[in-house]
Symmetry: C2
Subunit: 151 residues, 2 copies
């Protein structure tokens, strides 16, 4: 039931007709933190390529991972109640996340758009364009952190 | 230096010319665990779709995430010494991982092959073919767990 609500909250992002796994709240927190953590490693790789020696294949692979994460339907990992530490699994999610569904949807859709554009631009190998799109994607991450993540 | 060695160990999987981030051993352990954890959520979603109501879009998104993870060059997250808990970051990696580079390479390349095939088959929407390829991909995960992961 909690999961169905979570999916509906992000109905604009994730289809409500998705098959549902049975996940405990602490598993949701664990998986979503894992997704952001692994994505941050890949964003870091793109940054290292832009700041140092540029390897097109590595940047494409990293950008594809960022886009695939953005497209993975993480809205299903935000059931009400998961704004609090559960069973030892800590979260920095602010309670406002569940009170501002329109803002969440707006930020999630913008992140998705920028991440998919990053993968598209990465495939071209145009370093200046990748740098610009990397900035926009990082900005989309940051916009959500500022709104809904505790320091 | 440790990272360079780690990359060379998996030279057949990850190009040694990759730009390198400066990561601490505990960060390597954290990021690789995050990658596997988030991937397991996506494998679980595919399983839920195969066992229940099949949603092609969700399966494609999950399979793309699995493939993108397989293609992300995780070999760089295996520096020697990261077979032990570091700075509170726990790992189940067996020391044998660093003693059997040929076996590691074989298992990693096989996983990569099966994961990319899963993404390809998912795009067709052929449920029977996806089920078969999901089994092969899960088998490739398991083969490495049995060899190099402590229980």
């Amino acid at each position: 039931m909690q999961k169905i609500i979570a999916v509906l909250v992000l109905a604009g992002v994730a289809s409500a007709s998705f098959a549902q796994q049975t996940l405990k709240p602490e598993e949701m927190i664990k998986f979503r933190k894992a997704g952001y953590s692994f994505m941050s490693w890949n964003m870091g790789k793109i940054k290292a390529n832009l700041d140092g020696t540029f390897n097109k294949d590595q940047v494409i692979a990293a950008a594809n991972l960022v886009a695939a994460t953005a497209n993975s339907g993480m809205g299903a990992l935000y059931a009400p109640g998961t704004d609090k530490d559960v069973a030892g699994e800590k979260t920095r999610l602010k309670s406002e996340f569940f009170q501002q569904p329109d803002k969440v949807k707006e930020l999630a859709m913008n992140f998705s758009k920028e991440a998919n554009e990053l993968a598209k631009v990465a495939a071209t190998g145009d370093v200046a364009a990748i740098k610009a799109q990397f900035g926009k994607t990082g900005g989309a991450c940051k916009a959500c952190h500022e709104e809904f993540r505790k320091d």
